[in-house]
């Protein structure tokens, strides 16, 4: 019989432990949950939701800084996964398939935003406050994590996905390969290129800040 691991989830009768990769019992129970969800059992899908909710949200937030938007995208990812459960190959793992859906959905949204900004008469101007004139360099006041995120955005999507999943989310190379549907050799090559791109972009940013400080 399934046990409730969290008291606040009333409608989730299944075990909701965090995913542990390589665990055969976990994989078997996950396959059963997926099968139940495919047969229309929403509570089984609720258990899958509880298992992957946090990790999917973290991955999306690596690409989308806006917290509320990331939450919406996370829910949209699960909704899309539920609608497309028939397309899921039960012989494969559910996690990489779900992460791929989430990453693709996030990129689609970012592209849509970019297109809208490109063709709209007025673009969003943030909070409306300009840089503080008393500060020599407004970027110095920015959080370092935000700066790193800005630099990451300069990396092409193909490489950024690999870098985010491997270096920020701690996926192993085989997992990244499963998410991106590429071979491990391709992932390793892209990973090396992505780190090189990040290094170059980060050094450019540091040089830029150094020059402005000298002025």
């Amino acid at each position: 019989m399934h046990t409730m691991s969290e008291p606040d989830a009333e409608n989730l009768p299944y075990d909701m432990t965090e995913p542990e990769d390589g665990d055969g019992v976990f994989a078997a129970s996950e396959a059963r949950l997926v099968n139940d969800a495919r047969n229309g059992d929403q509570q089984a899908f609720g258990s899958l939701f509880a298992r992957y909710e946090r990790r999917v949200l973290k991955v999306i937030r690596r690409f989308v800084p806006d917290a509320e938007l990331a939450l919406d995208l996370m829910q949209e990812s699960f909704l899309r996964a539920y609608e497309r459960l028939d397309q899921f190959d039960p012989s494969r793992r559910f996690g990489p398939w779900l992460f791929r859906l989430a990453v693709n959905l996030t990129y689609d949204h970012l592209r849509k935003l970019k297109r809208r900004g490109r063709w709209s008469l007025f673009s969003e101007a943030g909070d409306g406050d300009g840089p503080d004139p008393s500060s020599a360099d407004p970027r110095v006041n920015l959080d370092l994590a935000q700066e790193v995120h800005t630099v990451l955005e300069q990396i092409p999507e193909t490489y950024r996905t690999v870098l985010v999943l491997r270096d920020l989310e701690g996926f192993c190379t085989s997992e990244v390969a499963a998410v991106t549907e590429r071979t491990e050799a391709t992932v390793r090559w892209r990973l090396a290129e992505a780190r090189k791109m990040f290094k170059e972009a980060w050094e450019r940013r540091e040089q830029c800040i150094g020059r402005e400080r000298m002025l």
């Binding site: 495919r38 229309g40 946090r54 939450l71 370092l144 270096d167 920020l168 190379t173 780190r195 290094k199």
Partner: protein, 195 residues
Amino acid sequence: MSCADMRHLIHLDAGNDLHADQEHELAGHMERCAECRDYHSQMLKSMSALNVLRDFDSAPLLTTRPRGNSWANLASGLPPRTRPVVCTRRFNLQVAALSVCSLAMAVVTIVQALPVSSYQPEVGGVPVRLASHGEQWEHQPGFSGGMGNFSGVRPAGESDGRIEPFDFRNLPETPVNLSPVPLPVSSDSEAAQSF
């Protein structure tokens, strides 16, 4: 291996993604190459910046919307699912191959049975098909592309089985009635409804 190849290994080494033999090879190269050592230290410095973002946790976000609430929102939007229909039909390649073969054979048979045309175009002439010998064509003079010198063909009757030219200029004149035909209208209301 060259320094360019080593740079690739350095990028992988920054995230501990090297195999044991590659690590050994890279260590041996960096002992000899100061430039690559410097590049390696720069790479590690950049990766430390990336680690700042890695340690940045999104946990506070979850407190704004509790987990149960997220699932409740999602569950309310889930469409009802029906049991997937298990498809037991399989594509029979043999039947398809046999059908294609028989169709091809039929096409070849029909094409071979078709008569070979002996038609040869002649400038200024109209090909006239013989009624009794359908496969043969005879060129009739008189066609020049204009309406004034056109001669059509018509069956020649029972005389000799040939088709003789038909002269359109000798057609009897029949009057053409161009007056409008009145439409039957029953009443105004019905007409309005039908309109």
